[in-house]
């Protein structure tokens, strides 16, 4: 029941915020924050009660939802280590995003905070759903709050960005719907429940012809690749990030992008193992192009938010790379990298939001020398920058290292190219840091106040997580280990079967 409770609480919290009487904005904010914190507390209980030794889904719930004729759709939830940590990330980031936009959002406050909670409900649903239709349900529903967050509270070109975001995602996901329906009827499945369909595929009771499998894989892949976003489907991302309000950018970068990578792991690999193996070289190539391209484009961005947006393209390239090398190290690294990216990029967007509240500009050229003016802020920014680059001791290093290890084990050449991405990321992040925080201070920028108590409250938890995840990654990797190994070993088994002569045991 705990998963349903999480979803329901988020939803009811959103309704409650809407019902706060009159224009009492302070109460609306407090209400929303209280709801988010309560949900976070509950998800910690989830973390503590999760048994890391079990490969099967845990906390399962199943109810009949739509049953008639040949259609069997269930309300079925359950999580493994991968979804557990992503849910935890979601409930961790949402209250921080709320706190981070405490003073930035001045109009339609109630609606803003209730949309954040609705969004959280949808996202938790996506990470917990174990029925294909239920998954699609949550996947689409959460588009609407995000669309409004960008379109109503965004900056100048918000409408363009919101519509682009919606249409891109929708186009991909509708194809996925067609694929879900086709898969169901083509495979002769008797239920839309994911574990049953996967079992059918693993035990060879369901056999998809190669071309059909390739088609279905492509539909799912496209939906997820747009969300990740994988090069060349990334063009909506910079627009959406730049135009969204701070909380929107944070939630988008930290949480929503992870849904795409999660989709690869949960759906593409187990449902279509043969097609995944067949297309892996192509996808790895795209991921590597994304890593390098994102980094190169980030280097020349004059706008801070755009720079971070392109750095996301680069970082998410690592995630996809880790997934499609099909070994435990890669999958674990990809997962860890998702969490890292969620924490450090979320922190970067929050920091840029705080800066914007003071300077009203995001242009790097208008800044400079801020380290003298707001030293505490600069310190936080520095740590986050280093975490994002992947400095050992901070969280980013663990994920990238695991991904690179995994891909070296699979094949060294792509890994070598991908590794240069880490160098590039150091270049654009440090160069940005230098231009913003060192050098001469502009006259107009001298009078900024340093961090307020509320801003400390936002940044300190993130900083703690960066160090914790960098220093003692075991507390999270432990929960991931079995789940990641299962995904990797399942697909390795298929690979061995498809081409035994080409298969080399990698460890």
């Amino acid at each position: 029941m705990i998963l349903s409770t999480l979803i329901l609480l988020s939803f009811l919290g959103g309704l409650l915020v809407l019902l706060v009487p009159g224009s009492n904005e302070k109460w609306a904010r407090l209400c929303a924050l209280a709801a988010a914190l309560l949900i976070f507390a509950l998800s910690i209980a989830l973390y503590l009660r999760f048994d890391p030794r079990v490969a099967e889904m845990q906390f399962e719930e199943q109810y009949r939802w739509i049953h008639f004729g040949s259609i069997h759709i269930d309300y079925r939830l359950g999580i493994d280590g991968i979804s557990l940590l992503l849910i935890l990330l979601t409930t961790f980031i949402t209250p921080l995003a709320m706190l981070g936009s405490w003073s930035a959002i001045g109009k339609r406050v109630k609606l803003f905070y209730s949309l954040l909670l609705f969004l959280q409900a949808g996202v938790i649903g996506v990470f917990a759903a174990l029925d294909l239709i239920l998954f699609y349900f949550f996947w689409e529903v959460m588009l609407i709050p995000m669309y409004f967050l960008i379109g109503v509270w965004g900056y100048e070109r918000r409408v363009y960005a919101a519509v682009k975001f919606f249409l891109y995602t929708m186009a991909g996901s509708l194809l996925m719907l067609a694929a879900i329906i086709t898969l169901y009827f083509y495979s002769g499945a008797t239920t839309f429940s994911l574990p049953e369909i996967i079992a059918g595929i693993q035990h060879r009771t369901t056999v998809l012809p190669g071309r059909v499998e390739a088609f279905l894989f492509s539909c799912f892949f496209l939906a997820f690749a747009i969300k990740v976003p994988l090069f060349p489907f990334h063009t909506w991302l910079p627009d959406a990030h730049v135009e969204a309000p701070t909380a929107g950018s944070v939630v988008l970068a930290s949480i929503l992008l992870k849904m795409g990578a999660y989709g690869f792991l949960r759906f593409c690999l187990p449902l279509f193992p043969r097609a995944s193996i067949k297309f892996a070289p192509l996808i790895i190539t795209l991921a590597i192009i994304g890593i390098i391209y994102g980094a190169l484009v980030a280097m020349v961005q004059p706008d801070l938010k755009k720079l971070i947006a392109y750095s996301s393209v680069s970082h998410l390239g690592f995630v996809v790379l880790g997934i499609f090398v099909f070994n435990t190290e890669g999958v674990m690294g990809a997962n860890y990298q998702m969490l890292n990216h969620g924490i450090s990029t979320g922190a970067l967007f929050l920091l840029v939001g705080m800066l914007y509240e003071r300077t009203h500009t995001r242009q790097i050229a208008d800044l400079g020398g801020l380290a003298h003016v707001i030293p505490a802020y600069s310190a936080f920014f520095l740590v986050t920058t280093l975490a994002s680059i992947g400095l050992p001791g901070l969280n980013g290093f663990v994920g990238e290292w695991l991904v690179l290890l995994g891909s070296f084990l699979a094949s060294p050449q792509p890994a070598a190219i991908a590794a240069t991405g880490m160098i590039f990321s150091a270049v654009y992040m440090l160069w940005m840091y230098q231009r913003v925080f060192f050098g001469n201070v502009r006259e107009a920028n001298r009078s900024f106040a340093d961090l307020k108590l509320r801003e400390y409250a936002v940044l300190v938890p993130l900083l703690v997580m960066m160090i914790w995840m960098g220093m003692y990654s075991a507390s999270f990797l432990r929960k991931l280990d079995v789940s990641a190994a299962k995904i990797a070993s399942d697909i390795q088994a298929v690979r061995q079967e498809v081409s035994p002569q080409r298969y080399r045991v990698s460890r």
């Binding site: 239709i133 349900f137 529903v141 379109g151 519509v163 919606f166 719907l177 067609a178 009827f185 083509y186």
Partner: protein
């Protein structure tokens, strides 16, 4: 005589319609609301009459009239839709100063026509039902005589409609020439699965007749002009009530009477479905008049429903029934909001008039957004479940290509529905504040439709159970 009890609802409606006609000359300004109230009550009584005979099963009048679960469900649906349209018209007609009782009398007559279509067991009665429905609709479409858009709409509808019914009648005549009967029971089982030219011609002509009524491409060209010109409640009726009735009759004629020809007509309808979806959706992209936009959207939705038709399966029919209900709910919601926003003289029907509505008329904007999201097929709404069932029905029969084409269309459609939402919430409101008076009946209709859309979006099983029984009662 006892057979008339099966037609009790139709009798009530006809009698009250005639009474309203007779009453009209004696009414003055003070009691001008009486016809509207009367028609509402009559429709309510008809609903009650249907519900009391809910499990009746009979072939009355020598097989002319078939009363089964399908008939009752279809009648319930039609009467409820018409009830909503009739009560939400009362204030509208007063606002437009055309509050004549004849409006309601005609509304009741077209209801009777619709209902005869769906319970008919004979092509002749089907034709009569369509004629009663059509002739009433022609007059209603041009009800505001001094408005040239309205008159144009009526004229176009009449000219094209007259042709289409002539086609239908010709088709019926050809089938009669082949079989020697127009009864569904005689036709079913006696037509050759590989039809000769005569049967094919009859089938094609009947298809034209129905295609016109449901706005199936390429017989859809009347729709945008008529929807734009007609009074909004009538547009709502044409797009919801008339279309629902036509589709329900379509189901019975094609799945019962012409079931032997399923191979032939499913092939034609495959093409028609694809054409209808693409034409509707692509043209809707560029419409700036909201009624016109909804007209093209309704064409596109006819295409989606045809996808379920093509499946020629039990599930397909149930999915079609479900979609008809969902479509009715979401369009009633949308049109009632449009009717309120349009203002006196219906001058505010451009999509630009919706700028900033989300912050000025919160309730209306939320209702319209939800209806539009449902039309776009976003989950948590009836529209999504409806599409899921239609597409699943097609996939179950291996029509994967059709499913992909339908899905591509759904993706195109998102853009133009979203455009309205963008205008309502994401552009700053203009300075001119226009007050909109919402009366209780209109609010109730909107509330009911939106609530229904959401409930069916979460629990489609509630209606799907009935749709299945209704399907079983006609398709064996």
């Amino acid at each position: 005589m006892s057979e008339f009890r099966y037609l009790l609802p139709e009798t009530i409606l006809s009698v009250v319609g005639a009474v309203i006609m007779l009453l009209c000359p004696f009414l003055d300004h003070k009691n001008s609301r009486i016809p509207g109230m009367l028609s509402g009550l009559a429709l309510l009584a008809a609903v009650v009459a249907v519900v009391t005979g809910w499990h009746q099963n009979a072939a009355a009048f020598g097989g002319m009239v078939i009363i089964d679960f399908f008939s009752n469900l279809a009648r319930l649906l039609i009467f409820t839709i018409l009830f909503f349209i009739s009560v939400s018209s009362i204030n509208f007609l007063q606002r437009e100063q055309i509050n004549f009782g004849e409006f309601y009398a005609l509304l009741l007559f077209v209801t009777v026509g619709s209902s005869l279509m769906v319970l008919s067991g004979d092509l002749i009665l089907t034709f009569l039902g369509i004629e009663v429905l059509s002739i009433g609709s022609y007059i209603l479409a041009g009800f505001k005589r001094d408005d040239f858009r309205c008159t144009e709409a009526s004229m176009k509808y009449f000219l094209l409609g007259a042709f289409s019914t002539a086609f239908l009648l010709y088709g019926i005549a050809l089938l009669y020439g082949k079989i020697g009967s127009t009864r569904y029971v005689d036709l079913a089982g006696n037509l050759n699965a590989t039809p000769d030219a005569l049967t094919l011609a009859g089938l094609a002509l009947i298809l034209v007749g129905f295609g016109f009524k449901v706005a199936m491409a390429p017989f859809h060209v009347w729709t945008p002009d008529v929807y734009e010109g007609a009074l909004t409640p009538i547009t709502a009726f044409l797009s919801v009530g008339s279309k629902a009735a036509a589709f329900l009759a379509f189901v019975r004629v094609f799945y019962v009477a012409l079931r032997d020809l399923a191979h032939a007509w499913s092939y034609i309808l495959w093409l028609a479905a694809v054409l209808t979806m693409f034409l509707g959706n692509i043209t809707a992209l560029r419409q700036d008049n909201i009624k016109r936009m909804l007209a093209y959207s309704s064409i596109a939705h006819a295409g989606y429903i045809l996808v379920g038709f093509v499946a020629t399966s039990h599930f397909g029919v149930a999915a079609v029934l479900f979609y008809i209900l969902s479509y009715a709910l979401m369009n009633l919601g949308a049109f009632t909001v449009v009717q309120l926003i349009s203002g006196e003289g219906e001058n505010r029907v451009s999509i630009q008039d919706y700028i900033g509505l989300g912050w000025r008329q919160k309730g209306l904007a939320v209702a319209l957004s939800l209806s539009l999201f449902s039309l776009a097929g976003i989950p948590a709404t009836a529209g999504f479940m409806g599409k899921l069932f239609l597409f699943s029905a097609a996939a179950e029969r291996g029509l994967y290509r059709l499913v992909v084409l339908a899905v591509v269309n759904s993706a195109i459609a998102v853009y133009y529905y979203l455009r309205i939402v963008v205008l309502m919430y994401m552009r700053e409101p203009s300075s001119t504040e226009v007050s909109i008076g919402i009366s209780f009946p209109e609010a109730a209709v909107i509330g009911f439709s939106v609530l229904g859309t959401l409930i069916l979006g979460f629990f489609p099983g509630l209606f799907m159970r009935w749709a299945e029984i209704a399907t079983t009662s006609i398709v064996r």
